[in-house]
Amino acid sequence: MPCPDVFVQDVPAVLNRKGLAFACYMDPSRPAICDSDHAVRINYETYLFADGAARERFLGDIVGFCGMLTDPVTKRRFRPGAGSPYHEDAATGVRYWFESPDSFELFLAMPEVYRLPGYKMERGSVPPRT
C-alpha cells in the first residue's frame, strides 16, 4: 500500500511515531493534541486541535475554516465554497468536498477507488540515501 494511503488512515498514530508536533489549527498559540479525539479528517487533509471546543468550532463551519483541500478524484487542490458538493462517506465517516459535480458523481460511483490517495509509484523511483 502506498505510504500516503497508510498515512491518511491513522494520522495521529503516524505523527506520534514520527515525533512531529503541530499547533492547534484554530488557535496556533496552543499545541494540538495528537490523538483521534482531537483530529478531523476532511478529504485527504487532517486537522488537529488543542481541545474539543476548538474542534467543535471547526466542525461548525468546515468550509469557512478548512482552506485548501485535495479533490479525491482529480487530486487537484481547491478551495471549497458554500455551494461545493460534498459527501459523508458512510464506510469511513470521512467528509469529502469536491471541486465539481463531475468529481462528486465519480466518487459516488466508485468510492473504493477514491477514498484513499492511491498514488502509484514506478518501481525504483525512490531516491537512494547516501
Binding site: L20, L48, T70, T74
Partner: protein, 84 residues
C-alpha cells in the same frame, strides 16, 4: 473546413479539453518540487509547488527513506508532509 466552420467547433473542443482536464488525476512527475539543501543529503526537506516546505525530512511511513518529490504531500493543519 472554412474558417467559419473552424470557429464554430472551437467552443466544443474547449469544453471537451476542460472536461478532460477536470477528470484526469495530476501526473506524478514531481515537476516544480525540489529538495531544500541540507547538511545530510539523505535528509532533505522538499519545497512543493504551492511554495510550502515539508515538515519532515524522511518518509512518514518508511522512516529511513528520503522524501520522493514525485509523491504528492498530504496536509496536516495546512502544512505538507512528504513520503517516499
Amino acid at each position: 473546413m472554412s474558417t467559419v466552420q473552424r470557429l464554430a467547433v472551437l467552443p466544443l473542443l474547449m469544453t471537451l479539453a476542460l472536461t478532460a482536464c477536470q477528470l484526469s488525476p495530476a501526473p506524478l512527475t514531481g515537476d516544480g518540487v525540489f529538495a531544500v539543501p541540507a547538511a545530510d543529503p539523505g535528509r532533505h526537506h522538499l519545497r512543493f509547488v504551492d511554495g510550502q516546505v515539508s515538515r519532515n525530512d524522511t518518509c512518514m511511513i518508511k522512516l529511513e527513506n528520503g522524501l520522493n518529490p514525485k509523491v504528492p504531500p498530504m496536509y496536516v493543519n495546512g502544512e505538507p508532509v512528504g513520503f517516499c
